[in-house]
């Protein structure tokens, strides 16, 4: 019933040439997404900033939001900057309501999010 979460790990460069890790999610982000979401996060060890790409995500529920919070918890421990882009206006509102926007900048598109890091 739920669409499987796929997460690909990518790299891009910031305006200063520094490496930025990009986690590109697709499908649903829900309770069944733990291995995909947290597994991808664990594969980008280090201190580089991280972009979260939600542009191909169809559905996020409260269990999925909890996984994003777990990423932000880990990032906060090591001082890694995180920015997100590609959320629909509804999920931008939801992420702001639950406080995620306090710990990850929410941007419309990848260039704007990259420029923020």
């Amino acid at each position: 019933m739920q669409s499987e979460t796929k997460t690909t790990v990518d790299r891009t460069s910031g305006s200063n040439g520094a490496s930025i890790a990009v986690l590109r999610f697709s499908g649903d982000i829900s309770s069944t997404s733990k291995d995909s979401v947290l597994g991808a996060w664990q594969s980008v060890s280090g201190n580089s900033p991280v972009l979260l790409d939600f542009s191909k995500v169809d559905y996020i529920n409260s269990s999925g939001i909890a996984l994003i919070i777990q990423i932000l918890m880990e990032a906060d421990k090591t001082g890694r900057k995180v920015a997100a882009f590609g959320l629909t206006p509804h999920f931008q509102k939801v992420f702001t309501m639950v406080g995620i926007a306090k710990y990850a900048g929410l941007y419309k598109d990848e260039p704007t999010a990259t420029a923020s890091l």
């Binding site: 409260s62 996984l67 918890m73 906060d76 309501m97």
Partner: protein
């Protein structure tokens, strides 16, 4: 097709995570036919999904022999949604989630569902049945919210 006051639609879901999307789709279709704007339909979809997830996980404890009932009732100015399970309901409402406490590991990162429901609809009421036969959450989303 237009949905008028008094129309009721009922869906029964197996207590398996993922089936909340069936209720989401049904609620969205009914709301669209009633004339709700797209942003309110998105609010409704998330609230209905979270109510169903709570019913599946906590009310029916993922017991697939039990079903979750979703009853959508149109009135002249609002859509009411009841999500019914076989649990005994909550004794008390959980505290409002605190993102700072979650980030610092002082609070479970989960537990956003009820907060989202309350934030996204115009009314949310949890009704207990201590016999475990019909606890439900009742949600109301109004057509003319801007004029309230």
């Amino acid at each position: 097709m237009v949905i008028t006051a008094g129309t009721s639609v009922e869906v029964r879901l197996p207590s398996r995570l993922g089936f909340e999307k069936v209720a989401m789709g049904t609620a969205a279709s009914v709301a669209q036919l009633m004339g709700f704007p797209p942003d309110r339909i998105e609010d409704l979809k998330t609230a209905v999904a979270e109510a169903c997830i709570n019913a599946i996980e906590h009310g029916n404890r993922l017991n697939e022999k039990l079903s979750v009932g979703v009853i959508l009732s149109a009135t002249a100015h609002a859509l009411e949604v009841k999500v019914v399970d076989n649990g005994t309901g909550m004794e008390k409402q959980p505290p409002k989630p605190d993102i700072d406490r979650k980030i610092h590991g002082e609070e479970d990162p989960r537990g956003m569902g009820m907060f989202l429901i309350q934030a996204l609809v115009d009314e949310a009421e949890w009704v207990r049945d201590s016999k475990g036969k019909g606890s439900y959450v009742r949600l109301v989303i109004r057509l003319d919210k801007e004029n309230q």
